[in-house]
Subunit: 438 residues, 2 copies
C-alpha cells in the first residue's frame, strides 16, 4: 500500500504545546501500552505499520516540519517537502510527482491519501487497505472513505451515497450544513467526509498536469510558490462524477481543540502534577520539570510548556485562537532532525539555549554574522569542528566562537551543550550554512 499522509500546518489551537514550529501532530500526548508517550504522527505511523508492515508511507509537509518528522519517525519515512504552503491540491500533486520521479512508483499503483492527525483505531487502517484494493477493481476513478456520523455535526462536509451498502457510488457532496439539515442527510445514509481517498497514481498525475503547467517533479517543485492555494476537494473531488465511497464505522476523532484532545487522554495527568480530591474532570499536561498543583477545579484543562501556561474551562478552550494569536512569543522549544533545543534564558543582548544532539547526529556546518557563541559541554562525547579544525569534546569543555566563524558539532554519545549566544541582533535568520567536504 502507498500512503500519502498530509501533515498540516502550524496551529495555535493547542497552545502552549503547539506553536509556529511545532504542529499539534508532534505533541507526545498518547500513552502506549509500554507507558511511553507518542505523538499523533507516531501513533498513525505505528498503526499503519501494524496493519501493513510493507506500506510505503510518504509524508507531504512543509520544510518547517521535516526535522520534527525525522526526529519522531527516524530516517525511513519518506518526506515530500513543500517549499511553501499551498493547500491540499498542490501538496497532493507534488507528492504524486515525488512518488513517480523520486521513488519510482508505477503510475498504475493505487495511492491512499489521508490526513496525518485522525485519532482512530486500527480498523481505520484496514479500511484504507480496502480503499486501495477497491481502486484496483477500476469501478471508479476515486474511492473515498466515508465516516459513519455519530451526531448531526455542523463542523463536517457530508458525502451523500447512492445507497447504504458498505461500498456505494457517490451521489453528491454537501458542505457544512446546519444541525437540522445534517440530521436529514444522516437519515438518508450520509457520511462525514474526512478527507481520505484512494486512486491510481496515474489519476493524480493526470489531474496535476491538467491544472498546472509543468514538466516533472523538479520543475513543479521549482514553481511551487507560484501555484494558487486550492483544495483537492474543490479542484478535483467536487468536479469528478465517477466516485465510490467505502463506509467506516470505527472510532474517529478530530482532536483539534484541548476539549477533544483531553477526551482522548487515558490518564488525567501527563507530567509532574498533583490534583486534590476536590478536582473534577481536570486534565493536566505539564512539559516542564517543575510541579503543577491543582485544587478544587472543575472541567478545566491546564497545559504548561516552555512557551507558556494555559488554564481553561474545557469548553471555552475551543475559543483560544484570538488570544494566543496576540502573543508575540519567541519559540522556546523545537525538535530538529539531529535532536532538540530549548531556550533557557533571554536577555537584551544574549540568549542561553540547551542543545541536545542524538548519538551519531550532527547539526549543519554554519556561521552567524551578528553573534558570538560559547558552547559549554555538559554531558556526553562528541566532535566539534570550528573553521575546519576538529576537536574531541566531553563534559566540562568550552568552545568559544566569534561571529563569522564556521562551526558544527557531532554527537558520539548523546551530547548536551549549554549554548550562550551574544550579540545585539540575535535572530534565527542570522545563519549561513556550508557544505562539509567529508
Amino acid at each position: 500500500m502507498n500512503i500519502i499522509l498530509l501533515s498540516g500546518g502550524s496551529g495555535k489551537r493547542l497552545w502552549p504545546l503547539s506553536n509556529d514550529v511545532r504542529s499539534k501532530q508532534f505533541i507526545k500526548i498518547f500513552q502506549k501500552e509500554d507507558g511511553e508517550y507518542e505523538s499523533m504522527v507516531q501513533r498513525v505511523y505505528r498503526q499503519i505499520r501494524r496493519v501493513d508492515s510493507s506500506a510505503v508511507v510518504t509524508i507531504a509537509t512543509s520544510r518547517a516540519q521535516v526535522s520534527a518528522i525525522h526526529n519522531q519517525l527516524g530516517e525511513e519515512a519518506f518526506v515530500s517537502v513543500e517549499p511553501c504552503r499551498r493547500d491540499t491540491f498542490p501538496a497532493i500533486a507534488l507528492a504524486s510527482l515525488y512518488l513517480k520521479d523520486v521513488r519510482n512508483v508505477e503510475e498504475n499503483e493505487p495511492v491512499v491519501v489521508c490526513p496525518v492527525d485522525p485519532y482512530v483505531d486500527d480498523s481505520y487502517f484496514d479500511t484504507l487497505k480496502e480503499l486501495s484494493i477497491q481502486v484496483e477493481k477500476d469501478e471508479a476513478n476515486l474511492v473515498l472513505m466515508g465516516i459513519e456520523p455519530t451526531y448531526p455535526s455542523e463542523k463536517y462536509g457530508y458525502i451523500i451515497p447512492v445507497d447504504r451498502k458498505k461500498i456505494s457510488s457517490v451521489n453528491t457532496f454537501k458542505e457544512k450544513p446546519d444541525e437540522k439539515t445534517a440530521g436529514e442527510y444522516i437519515s438518508r445514509g450520509a457520511l462525514w467526509n474526512g478527507g481520505v481517498f484512494a486512486c491510481r497514481l496515474r489519476y493524480l498525475l493526470d489531474k496535476a498536469h491538467e491544472l498546472i503547467d509543468f514538466t516533472d517533479y523538479a520543475d513543479l517543485f521549482a514553481k511551487y510558490d507560484t501555484l494558487p492555494k486550492i483544495s483537492f476537494d474543490y479542484a478535483v473531488v467536487e468536479k469528478e462524477s465517477d466516485i465510490q465511497v467505502v463506509r467506516y464505522d470505527g472510532e474517529w476523532k478530530d482532536l483539534g481543540t484541548w476539549n477533544t484532545l483531553t477526551e482522548a487522554m487515558t490518564e488525567p495527568v501527563i507530567g509532574d502534577a498533583v490534583l486534590n480530591d476536590a478536582c473534577e474532570n481536570v486534565s493536566v499536561i505539564n512539559e516542564l520539570n517543575v510541579p503543577v498543583v491543582c485544587m478544587g477545579l472543575k472541567d478545566v484543562v491546564v497545559s504548561v510548556s516552555a512557551e507558556g501556561v494555559l488554564v481553561s474551562d474545557k469548553e471555552q478552550s475551543s475559543y483560544i485562537k484570538p488570544y494566543v494569536d496576540k502573543i508575540e512569543q519567541q519559540i522556546m522549544f523545537a525538535e530538529k532532525s539531529w535532536g532538540s533545543f530549548r531556550v533557557l534564558d533571554v536577555e537584551e543582548e544574549g540568549m542561553t539555549i540547551k542543545v541536545t544532539l542524538n548519538p551519531g547526529h550532527r547539526m549543519n556546518y554554519h556561521s552567524h554574522l551578528r553573534r558570538d557563541e560559547i558552547w559549554n559541554v555538559i554531558s556526553g562525547e562528541g566532535v566539534v569542528l570550528v573553521d575546519g579544525m576538529e576537536q574531541n569534546v566531553k563534559a566540562g569543555d568550552v568552545i568559544t566562537m566569534q561571529a563569522g566563524c564556521r562551526h558544527t558539532v557531532s554527537a558520539v554519545t548523546e551530547l548536551k551543550l549549554i549554548e550562550v549566544q551574544l550579540g545585539k541582533e540575535i535572530s534565527v535568520h542570522d545563519k549561513q550554512k556550508f557544505e562539509l567536504d567529508n
Copy 2:
C-alpha cells in the same frame, strides 16, 4: 521610635511564590503608586519611614533571610540574626540584647515589637507610635495593640480589656475560641491579639535574664541553639498582670493564604497574563517571562514561578500545605545580599544557573569540593578573582574553575553570568568560604 520587626520563617502556604528560602514577606505583590511592585517587608518598612522617618528598625530573623532583607531594603536596615529558629521569646530576647550591646540603645528607651507581615494602612504605624509614647508614661509594664475585630473569627487570640476606652488596662487573654464564644467576647469589647506590643528595653532585658542563663549578646548568640522553643505570649505576656492595650480600628489583614493575598491585589494580574471575558474573580501572579492564558475560570488563583504552577479555587487554596509539603523541589530562585540567582536547567551531573550581581556587590570568596564551574559573562563589567589572581571581565568572557579552586566575582556595573556547574554530587552545602585580605 525603636521597632523590632519579627520576620517569620519559611512557609509553603503561598507556594510556588514562597519556598524554603523565600518567605511570603519577600514576594513582590503590592503595587505602589509608581506602578512598581513591593513585598510585605518593603511595604511595612516604607510605611514605618513615612510615619517616623527617624525610626530605628531592627529585623529579627534567621540567617536564611538576611540576604533577601539586604537585597530588598538595602544595607541600612539592622538585622538581628537568629542562628536557628527558636520561636518568639528567644528571638525577642536576642534582638533586645542586639539593641543594647551592638546598637547601644539605652535601656530606658521604649521598643515596639511587631510582625513584619501585616497588611495595614498607615494609621497602624501611628498606633505603634502611640504605643511607644504610652510606654514612656510608665502606666504599665507592657502596652499591647488590640485590633478591633471585624467578625467573630476562630483564628485569633482575644484580648479582654477592662473597658472600651482607646487605652485600657487588660483584664485577661483568651485563646482561639469557637465562633459563638468569639461573638460573646466581641460584645464585651474584646480585641484581636495581633502580637504587637511595646515596653521599655529594660523590661525585655530583665525577662531575658530571668528566664535564660547568659551574660551578654555574644553569649546568648552562642548558646541560642540550646534554648527551648517558646513564644513571647506564653513566656511573658500571659504571666504579666500589669498590661495596657491601645485599640486599633484601621485596616488589618493577615495575608497568609492565596485567598486573602489576592484580595489585597489592586489588579487581577501581576506579570504576563491574558484573561478572557468569561473569567470571573480570577487572580494571576506570573513571575515567568512567558504568558499565562486563562479562559472561562471562576474564583481561581493562578500562580506561576520558576518553582512550579498553582491553579486553585480561591477558597480551596488555604488547604495547600499537605500537597506542597510532598513536593521535593529544588530551590529554583533566590535573592542574595549581592543580587539573585535562578536555576535554568538541572541535569544528572550538571546544573545551569543565571547569576545577577548588583553594581558594587560581590559574592563570597569560596570553593567547591565536588564540582567544576564555568562562568559565561553575558552582560556588564566586573572583576573575577580566581586563586588570588584578578581579572577584569565583560560580556563574552569565559572563566573555568576546577573543583577546589577559590573564586569570587564583583560587579562594577550590573553583572550577569551563566554559571555551568558540573559534578556528580552538586549540592548547595558543598561550599567553603574564605576571607579576603582586602
